[in-house]
């Protein structure tokens, strides 16, 4: 299903012409209206005329999250406050938040992009959509809210938290579409079960899960628990919010809304562009943004692009599920470890729940990784040997995937903290005093 079929199925040649025209316009718009970019572009010798083909984008300097922070709060805005109608900010875990502003046209484009990704997984104006993202400065909730409304859904803006109430509304309001982080969806499913709500009591059919990664294994658990068709979408507040890309019903990659976003893949170490199909860091240039028009923004997300036509008819390139974030990456004894790798292993093992916690410590200048998982299978209690086997299985599977031996601790059910938003699963104690 489509929201704007003509655009979503545009021949690639025509799409790339549109992208080139818009990219030139953005370079011009930024150099005229954002002093930061005027200086950067002049130093790099980039003018709109120098952009002759799309690959010339590589001459434009990259923008990082630090650049946005350095210009806190409004330094990168390209229009006067009179034109800005909405301000969002990312949850700044360290230092100041990153602030973004939207014009009326930005909001209109944003809701189009979100409406498209909802329609692409089968959401229609008949659906009742429960938004369990936290409302506020975070773009997730309002982004989905406006997009779903534009599509014609009945939106329930319940926000995150109060999990019993979430489960009650799912049942009583006949919610058909759930919007949340994947980890929160998993938690809602557990709470619903504890409350005696069965899958047959729910009308839920589609889950739009985003704002954090979700492995295929976790997805399967959510689908079993809630009886939903679970789908992934992607975005970030710096670029717009949710709506940068989303899966179609074939769930074989996330279609990027390429009329609004130019996607490139670079080598995260050197910044050199990589070919389609090669893995690397995703770099995005929003092509129509007015409020805060970034050029070549480094997402830190590791993925690859697929330009092959999709069975759904969309011509938009697909990005693979993000395999990790270059800044989530843990270096443990010199080995690169992505938490998503650990999640895949744990979610695929029978007898444990798909919740986990990673604890990093350092002793005698050596790093140690402890993985805590919750035991769920009571039938293993008959023999210590079986619990030991379970633990050894996890240790050896982790070792195969990570190339690193971790200590695995079996924990009691529900003893690992649940999150209503993005899960925080890493406890890094390596830099604590005395080590």
């Amino acid at each position: 299903m489509f929201f704007q079929k003509e655009i979503e199925t545009m021949p690639r040649k025509k799409l790339e012409e549109l992208q080139l025209e818009r990219l030139r316009h953005q370079v011009d718009f930024c150099s005229r209206n954002v002093p930061f970019y005027a200086k950067r572009l002049a130093e790099a010798g980039v003018t709109p005329e120098r952009i002759k083909v799309l690959s010339d984008a590589q001459y434009i300097p990259l923008t990082t999250k630090a650049d946005i922070r350095d210009n806190y709060p409004y330094g990168l805005f390209a229009v006067p406050m009179k034109e800005i109608v909405r301000i969002h900010a990312s949850s700044g875990t360290t230092g100041k938040p990153t602030v973004v502003g939207y014009t009326k046209r930005d909001l209109d484009n944003w809701s189009d992009c979100v409406a498209r990704l909802c329609a692409a997984v089968g959401v229609t104006d008949e659906d009742v959509a429960q938004i369990a993202f936290g409302y506020g400065l975070f773009t997730g909730a309002l982004g989905l809210h406006y997009g779903l409304e534009k599509l014609g859904c009945a939106v329930i803006p319940v926000s995150s938290g109060n999990t019993e109430k979430q489960a009650m509304l799912l049942k009583d309001f006949g919610t058909t579409t759930l919007i949340s982080t994947p980890s929160y969806a998993m938690y809602i499913s557990e709470v619903a079960r504890e409350m005696g709500i069965a899958r047959k009591d729910l009308k839920l059919r589609i889950g739009l899960f985003g704002s954090e990664g979700c492995t295929n294994e976790l997805r399967q658990k959510i689908e079993q628990g809630l009886g939903v068709f679970s789908t992934d979408n992607y975005g970030m507040s710096e670029l717009m919010g949710p709506g940068v890309s989303g899966e179609c019903v074939y769930r074989n990659g996330l279609h990027i809304n390429e009329d609004h976003f130019l996607a490139e893949i670079i080598d995260p170490e050197t910044g050199i562009p990589r070919e389609p199909g090669e893995e690397g860091e995703l770099v995005i240039t929003p092509l129509t943004k007015e409020g805060i028009p970034l050029l070549r923004y480094r997402t830190k997300d590791i993925t690859r692009l697929n330009l092959e036509p999709c069975a759904c008819g969309r011509t938009f390139a697909r990005m693979e599920k993000v395999s990790g974030r270059s800044d989530d990456m843990l270096k443990i004894r010199g080995v690169n470890v992505f938490p998503s790798q650990i999640e895949s292993v744990i979610a695929a093992i029978k007898g444990v729940a798909p919740h986990y916690e990673l604890i990093l410590t350092r002793k005698n200048y050596t790093d140690y990784l402890e993985v805590r998982v919750e035991l769920s299978d009571a039938s293993l209690l008959e023999h210590y040997g079986e619990l030991d086997n379970l633990r050894n299985t996890i240790v050896s599977k982790l070792q195969t995937v990570l190339g690193l031996k971790a200590k695995v601790t079996l924990a009691a059910p529900s003893s690992i903290r649940r999150y209503e938003g993005k899960a925080k699963r890493i406890i890094d104690k390596r830099n604590e005093s005395g080590l």
Binding site: L381, L387, A412
Partner: protein, 143 residues
């Protein structure tokens, strides 16, 4: 003839046992026998209680991983050598004891032994044929 035993997963840290015994105590469930062994990180608590099914429900409600398994209970005289009669019999018939624990009650002169073996039915039959007194679910409440 067999009795129900509860196995409960416990993390090896202060406070986990309190949760279990407190919940059972408040529900008026009497613990008749127990055994708790540990590894470095976790332990398995094994309990014989008056009403195993009710206890399992209570413990599941407070978030424990619990299972019920069938074990063999025998009464042996509280005198030197009495236990050997049981263990030798099982040994002679190639029945392996995976774990066992014993308890005494304030009444009577018997000691009670809980046995987890690889073949409950065969062990029960053998013990019974040799005149060793087995205990069952109803005995647990009245011992």
């Amino acid at each position: 003839m067999a009795i129900n035993q509860l196995s409960i997963f416990l993390e090896n840290k202060p406070g986990t046992l309190v949760l279990v015994t407190d919940a059972l105590g408040r529900a008026g469930i009497d613990i008749r026998a127990m055994s708790l062994a540990d590894t470095q990180d976790f332990g398995i608590l094994r309990l014989i209680v008056g009403d195993a099914k009710a206890a399992k429900e209570i413990l599941s409600d407070i978030g424990c991983v619990v299972s019920i398994t069938q074990v063999v209970g025998v009464a042996v005289a509280d005198t030197p050598g009495a236990l050997t009669e049981v263990t030798r019999l099982l040994c002679e018939h190639g029945i392996n004891i995976e774990y066992m624990y014993a308890f005494l009650t304030s009444r009577g002169s018997s000691a009670y032994v809980v046995l987890r073996v690889n073949d409950n039915d065969r062990a029960s039959a053998l013990l019974s044929e040799s005149g060793i007194q087995l205990i069952d679910e109803s005995d647990i409440k009245t011992l």
